[in-house]
Symmetry: D2
Subunit: 335 residues, 4 copies
């Protein structure tokens, strides 16, 4: 490469001299093109490409306290609009969705409160969000009944994690619920570590009162074939990753098993690569595995997903317009 | 509190004027008592207290690429010495243990290599560690056979994740293996997200060749009761956490379900609290939940676990001496 | 505090269902109120309060490569609009401003280039921004002349760092320049570590060709009294901090010396507190010193300033309107 | 490069089965060779190489609260042993050295104290270190006298920052002081941002009582030539960087100005590269500038310097032995 090739595009300084829409600001970020601003504008481009690619299946991986912190409606809306096709989540996020679905709440709190006071008051803290214990207890009661019911209906049959979330979505009536929206939109929600959440505790209550007999049965491995199959049948695959952990790994492993590799990838994280964990690993590293293609449109944004993800959604929604209709490839295939 | 109470202990400056043992250095860190050095010296104290407390059960939570990076023997030794009683791990770490158990290797690499070259060479990168694909393939072949065998032996019966790892440990002959050492020492290894690893892919191969019939069956929820029971029967509980994620959450949830709360806690992480994820949440925050007791001996060390954890182990081993015998409380109870 | 007081404000989930202006998005962030989103919405509130407080002097502290990355115009505009009253900066940011003022450029590059190739091509890299060496050399030549001139005009007199930047601003003709805008708007730019930048090297060239005699003379301490005086004469003081380091410390020390303490504070940083550096220290910690008042409106946002700061500016500009006029308190006093 | 070249060195798992010296542990880290452990073992190697290279001048860059946190003696000892040749520091670290030199103290505190209580008690907090205001005031009084004295002795003459620290070192009698040790060992201490510290405030007191006439005069630029000259006269240069900020940049700029580039570099930091600041910039990036040579022995360790730096010092001291004599190249040249 010649010297001049390195000096092609001067940084155009951002200009903020009037009220801007979110996407106009992102265009300023693209003009500058550097550091986090450049990455964020690229992330918007990559998600826009995924949406406009009619042969792409879009995976949304959710780790971290996405729902408690206020992104429940954004995600439910993405599901309803078919702007995502598959969700892979921690159990906890669906627990928090269910808490609100049955009338519970998360409350704005703060991080400098005395935690022992909260303990005595039976209030749980998630950084600066408070959740009263009774909302968990109420959920436990509801779940125990639901689990009894699912167990009865599926005697001798074990469910996959996505069938489990479908059963929940079927029973939750709150239209704002992610689980409910996914059930109605036929968007599978995979929960590869569902026992690691209040679902595990509720299961234990349910199993205890049934003397550990004829209980709900979730097969830890059953969803593997199902998620691989989705990657396999999709001409192209893309992922939006909030956080990292098990959800990111599950999505990446599915595309690897399907011998495909992601065609698009946006990862939002605060983790760094040097300590070697999956959550902070670069998208470049995933190329060595074949989890993401070398030529994929891909970007990692370093930042708090509660800030970054809504910006991406707002920017891309503005680009495609409110009336943009997306029919998922696999849904079209089905017909 | 009076003013003078805040000004009791002057920082004593560290002195490094000759060859020091690891624990002598930690004593210098305690003298200084500040920032990371103070936290690290406290972490050594907390682990020492756990070991010397005859009524404490010690949980080790493993997330991140602990085994690929070289801590396999340290953990196997802790198991053999009964310096930990329960392991909760990502699936991946046990996959990497098994890779080495059947003759595979991890290789020292670097992080600035061209990943597409690695891809073409079928070499996978984990930051600066390389793993050849054939070592994974070899493991797949072994696992498929083992899964067939376990399925046959357990027809109609489903295993918990810890029973699954026990079955693996029984069949691996490598004395250096963590799975093997845990099998022999009767230390349970819980894998709350085991499908999210090569175990998931190997399961898929195994199930495919059995036409998805009569396959190995791991019950996603079965281990919940077992880990809660351990917390419940232990007069006191302590945790050593490397990383965060599902393993940390699983351990904390178990003690919460058992209505106990940890008495001791050491967490090593690079994650920060502000973005609200579990991995970076402070130990103070866990007090609100009752996952860790207000008066617990507890400390979070901010750093790379590959540096911090070996130091803690070396320092504490030096303190208790090579001949220190520890008999786990639950093992004594059994007899 | 009673239990119910902790459970007053439910998190209202963000809603993004149409094109939003930046401030509408920030209002959604306020509704949610948690993690980074909550902090960012608070930061916008705090800056708005500063702007609307007619007795507040606003300090902008700049560390990090703010100018190379594309925020030059934003800052120059803030100066022109009198939305900031005092700048405290690293030398480097003003060097980069001057590079562009004399026709040089920063270029969009990338972070995975081979740095030795860049070295051979005489291209300098700042993460993903490239700067050709000749633009630095051109600046050196200009600065040497300017320094000769300033030295001649100030024989036997030493300048403060802000007088130094004023002299530069006087001589740069580019209307887009921060230095120029500040000169015209009478906004002082303090450079407490100016020798730690290309200004230091240019000084060395200038001094060498003058045999180290009758050179430009900048008094390292002279600006101390001037910045303290500004804090002292202002009924209230506020700070916007990008990054940390010397600029943040200089601003905080000035308010401490004036025995005032900041009334408003917004800090944007990626640094964390545990390792004890000033850049990551919390605003709570500054209260112990008296650098920030206990009751100050204050918030720290954890994130990349290249994303966060433009959002704050856009949101607040939208709130106050394009025609909002602000006359700095000290300017009014002067008249 | 052929495939097999990537798979040369299997990770050897660390073994901790008895009391280990610090360097024995580092040898285990080298065997593993990965993540932070690998980087730390390399850092020890690089510092050892610097020490054994008879033609290398060693720069130590100090940012962050190195002295308050307990590393004062380590640094003073390195100076006395001539294990470093030049120090470049924030003003604050030398202020804290001086506080202890005149009988003040830093105290072990904690980070969860109420800061307003501290404020009322006139106790300043630096993360978990407390400093009573009276120790600062005492220092102010001493400094004002010293500044008067220096001013008198240097009428009409301006000092460089290193001459300033030399004057302080000459007057402080505490043998444990870094300033004192450096004075005696003829190790220059550059303070490129000295006004950004209590020195600035003390200057202001001193100048005020002298009606801003005939005051101490420190030339902001005078040290530039002196530090470049050191790089220039040294056949090889190496740097140990704690933190980043102005000290790191000053050292790197000196070697660049001398058209040399560092031959050895160890950087310890918690900062990350993506947000574009100097402190987190990689050593690879510095190669594009010529600040560090392509073939330099260089490594960046991600971690808390209060943990990492003492380990490096202990490991290297153990390697070279207590009786290792090092005569700095420039000192030998002088004779």
């Amino acid at each position: 490469m010649q010297r001049k090739n390195f000096l092609q595009s001067p940084v155009k300084h951002m200009k903020i001299d009037r009220a801007l829409t979110v996407d106009s600001l992102i265009q300023q970020f693209r003009n500058a093109g550097s550091f986090g601003a450049g990455r964020l504008s690229t992330a918007c481009d990559v998600y826009e490409q995924m949406l406009r690619d009619k042969k792409c299946t879009i995976f949304l991986a959710l780790a971290g306290a996405v729902v408690p912190a206020g992104m429940r409606s954004i995600i439910a809306d993405l599901v309803r609009k078919r702007f995502v096709d598959v969700i892979v989540s921690t159990g906890a996020n669906m627990v928090h969705d269910a808490i609100e679905a049955i009338g519970g709440h998360h409350y704005k709190g703060n991080w400098f409160v005395d935690d022992y006071t909260l303990f005595k008051y039976h209030i749980f803290r998630i950084y600066d969000v408070f959740v009263p214990e009774e909302d968990y207890s109420k959920l436990d009661n509801v779940l125990v009944e639901i689990f009894d019911e699912i167990a009865k209906e599926n005697r001798g049959k074990s469910l996959s994690s996505n069938e489990f979330s479908r059963e929940l979505g079927k029973r939750l009536k709150d239209p704002d619920s992610i689980l409910r929206a996914a059930y109605k939109a036929d968007v599978p929600i995979f929960l590869p570590a569902l026992r690691d959440s209040e679902f595990g505790y509720a299961y234990w209550l349910h199993a205890s009162r049934n003397a550990f007999k004829s209980t709900l049965m979730v097969d830890a491995f059953k969803d593997v074939a199902q998620i691989i199959d989705i990657c396999d049948r999709s001409p192209r695959n893309g992922m939006l990753v909030i956080g990292g952990g098990v959800p990111r790994n599950t999505v990446q492993s599915a595309t690897l098993a399907a011998k495909k590799g992601m065609d698009y990838a946006v990862v939002i994280t605060m983790d760094r690569p040097e300590s070697g964990g999956l959550s902070g690993s670069t998208l470049r590293e995933t190329v060595s595995w074949g989890k993401v293609k070398r030529k994929a449109s891909k970007i990692m944004v370093i930042g708090d997903a509660m800030i970054i993800f809504p910006i991406i959604v707002a920017s891309v929604l503005e680009r495609v317009g409110e009336n943009f209709k997306r029919v998922p490839y696999l849904a079209r295939k089905k017909i």
